[in-house]
Subunit: 480 residues, 2 copies
């Protein structure tokens, strides 16, 4: 094949006092942090657990405008300084960690909702807006943004776009990228680029918008995001369904869609361990003792009778296929309670198994029941706990590799890579891949070769080089 594109820069320059002065001149003195380990530390990691994944930046810079970011990137290009963009730091692949030091570009000050255009059903926001605030702001307008990452209360919309966040409503509404119809982007070379806008269709040139979506901060920095909104459904109903085992639970998923002809907003699942840990963490209790798996199914719509009709179909389907119990949550308080259970699975795992690695497997939906028993075998083989939960309706399984308390830390460190390798192999063999929504970042880059063919990787590297000839924007991510 053609020669391999090299993305390593041989010579990043350290940040000199002169460069600090230039950065201060661009954003203002108080928005540059340097030489202060305590203040730099919070910017050295994301939500990936383990010191091995952390790295201190040399300086944190907090711009307020696209023009300031363009000036920073031009400076970084001239001086060959690595720049790592960062949103809320709630990522799960090390994407916002400045592994080569240099400048950490925090978007926390770019937190304005710029425009709500009801007529066109578009909201224009800066990247540092907390995702949840978008829908809070829109509630009275009868509109909503359909993205719903599980970290919705803390994550930034810019990070959602950079990772193409999925989350809890993707079965019906798709992932973040579906709603992004325009972007203002600062390129790695420090140019400001306008892509799309308020129009819903656009085939002029290549689709750079969706190339930027999910590019993990390696191709450009978003400074304005145009989001297509939907009319807010008047009502939603959640079903919490207990099953004796995971296979019975998952088997119901394609049935609901194909035979029931209902596309739920969400079909979330938790295996027995995930349920148990979340319950323990939240001090929740279920009467039934023999929960092997739990599904959380949400439907929404405008017509109450229609919704009732649909949840009866789904409930009956579940009971016919062996469900132990179906709870219906049709008011806000109960709905919050059942979703809190699902959202707090990671916290539950973290509380009782702090040494863990969150995985983000995805397989064709019909293969979930094949994969899960294989994961159970893997847990036995390596004497681990591997709770599985996630987005059943999308085939997206967050299986979390967790060390039992009695396993020595050395042993855990030693086996982790091998376990991940086997886990990825079995996922790929089923037509799946190694990340459905968390991204590759730093954590998974060594496994990229397993998931993509050499031609795809080479093309991606050439694209990276096309955007970033000096390799200064978020270096060391995605590619080895």
């Amino acid at each position: 094949m053609h020669p391999e594109t090299n993305l390593q820069s041989t010579s990043y320059k350290p940040i000199s006092p002169a460069i600090i002065e230039q950065l201060q001149a661009i954003v203002g003195q108080k928005f540059v942090i340097y030489d202060d380990e305590e203040k730099l530390e919070p910017y050295s990691h994301d939500e990936v657990v383990g010191k091995k994944w952390a790295h201190l930046p040399d300086a944190v810079v907090k711009p307020r405008t696209a023009e300031e970011i363009a000036a920073i990137m031009q400076l970084a290009n001239r001086e060959r300084i690595p720049v790592t963009p960062r949103g809320a730091g709630s990522g799960l692949s090390g994407g916002a960690v400045p592994i080569y030091g240099g400048i950490l570009l925090s978007l926390e000050r770019m937190d304005k909702i710029l425009e709500i255009d009801k007529q066109n059903m578009v909201i224009v926001v800066e990247p540092g807006v907390i995702t949840n605030d978008i829908n809070n702001q829109l509630a009275t307008d009868g509109l909503f943004f359909a993205g719903y990452p599980m970290s919705v209360e803390s994550c930034f919309i810019g990070g959602n776009v950079a990772e193409n966040a999925g989350g809890g409503r993707a079965v019906k509404y798709g992932v973040t990228g579906r709603y992004i119809i325009g972007l203002e982007v600062v390129t790695p070379e420090g140019e400001i680029m306008q892509l799309g806008g308020k129009r819903v269709k656009d085939v002029v040139g290549y689709d750079l918008i969706h190339l930027m979506v999910g590019s993990e901060g390696t191709l450009g920095i978003f400074t304005k995001i145009y989001i297509k909104l939907l009319p807010l459904p008047a009502k939603k109903v959640d079903l919490l369904v207990l099953f004796p085992d995971i296979v019975a639970a998952i088997a119901i998923v394609p049935q609901i869609i194909t035979y029931g002809k209902i596309i739920p907003t969400a079909i979330e699942f938790m295996d027995a361990t995930a349920v148990e840990l979340a319950c323990r963490y939240l001090n929740e209790h279920f009467h039934s003792k023999k929960i092997g798996a739990m599904l959380l199914i949400e439907i929404d719509g405008n017509d109450e009778d229609q919704l009732e009709h649909e949840y009866e179909i789904i409930g009956n389907m579940c009971l016919e296929k062996g469900a132990i119990e179906v709870y219906v949550a049709d008011n806000h308080t109960t709905q919050e309670r059942v979703w809190a259970l699902r959202r707090n699975v990671p916290e539950g795992i973290q509380a009782f198994y702090p040494a863990k690695s969150s995985e983000d497997l995805v397989v064709p939906i019909a293969n979930i029941p094949v994969l899960l028993p294989q994961i159970a075998d893997l847990a036995k083989k390596y004497d681990l706990v591997i709770p599985c939960f996630g987005h059943a309706g999308d085939g997206n399984i967050h299986s979390t590799l967790a060390k039992k308390p009695e396993m020595p830390m050395d042993k855990w460190q030693e086996i982790q890579e091998q376990v991940r390798l086997e886990l990825y192999q079995m996922t790929l063999a089923l037509g799946g891949t190694i990340s459905g929504e968390h991204g590759i970042g730093n954590k998974r880059k060594q496994y990229l070769k397993m998931a993509l063919d050499p031609t795809s990787i080479e093309i991606m590297k050439r694209i990276k080089a096309a955007f970033d000839p000096q390799r200064i924007l978020n270096p060391g991510k995605i590619f080895e």
Copy 2:
């Protein structure tokens, strides 16, 4: 700014008898056409009217497999021969015309439906499958592909993906790209690349799938297409609504979605001229004499009562806003009749105004009522007929510049470019762009600079160069 990437090849080689022999060795003697103008002619144009847009290929090659295409591309790379891929030739921007001669790569023999996977709700097809055949094949399975280009009975699915075809159902279902979850692609250098598959989520590396979608055959040749299916709604209802004028008609569109909370499958519109020409062409008649505009609104769903409720809301909204009449089409025959009216607008125009240029403007929906009177003024200024019709729910307007019979052909040729320029200027000034679904191809490339900033164009050119270092795949398209 950074130096401009040059996409011109200085030295395409002509096709020698030795190369013909090599092509015959790859695909078989009977699948290479050369030296026969009559047989080459059908491959010299698409649906863009005018000899100026046509060009004969030196040879037409009809491969059957990805491996054959890879071998052709490797040969073309070695010998520097331009290769233009072609589906059904139903495009509207000259994208499949071999403007530098060379090899015309026809995908007509790659016409197999490879797999229908009901459990995962995915169909795998070759690029030469006629789009309509996909849903015909799926009808008994209760599934469907939601793409619906107006040329559905003749176009190939490969062309739909290459152009990111929109069409008549995009309001609710989005455009073609939303359903493409996997592609097998032969790169311009002759490598076979596997992107995605049957999984619905995937954030491993850059989203090459959606970079390929809409790339107009300039970045690679699709050899397998994985399409996500939806459950086929049990019922649909069409409303044909007559309005006294276009502004009243268009004003209803955001109302239905925002206040009615109904997302119709389609909201198509036709202005008075478009209606009149289609009616004349089909020999259809309406009682009402004063039709200023017509909307065709389709809703679908599984619950008959719910649908009835929805179409009553929509119908009443229309009547309140001044509609003259609302016809309800709730059976297949009547629905076919109203859609035939809409689909035959271009044929109607073509029949009575053969000298024409089909445009494909798109604006934010709320700006349609601003743009349409400006277009009417433009028609007056240049003494043209400009019927407007298209996808109101997407802001996508097919305004067709048409020469009146009495205007001399010279004059028409002379003013056309200027009219298009003014039309594009007014569209861009309203936050719109110059193509919503037909593409840039050859026809609109000189206007690309108006619609995109220089940085975006430069990045796109670098991407083209990253895929196609020798500039042999579909040269002369999109970029000047």
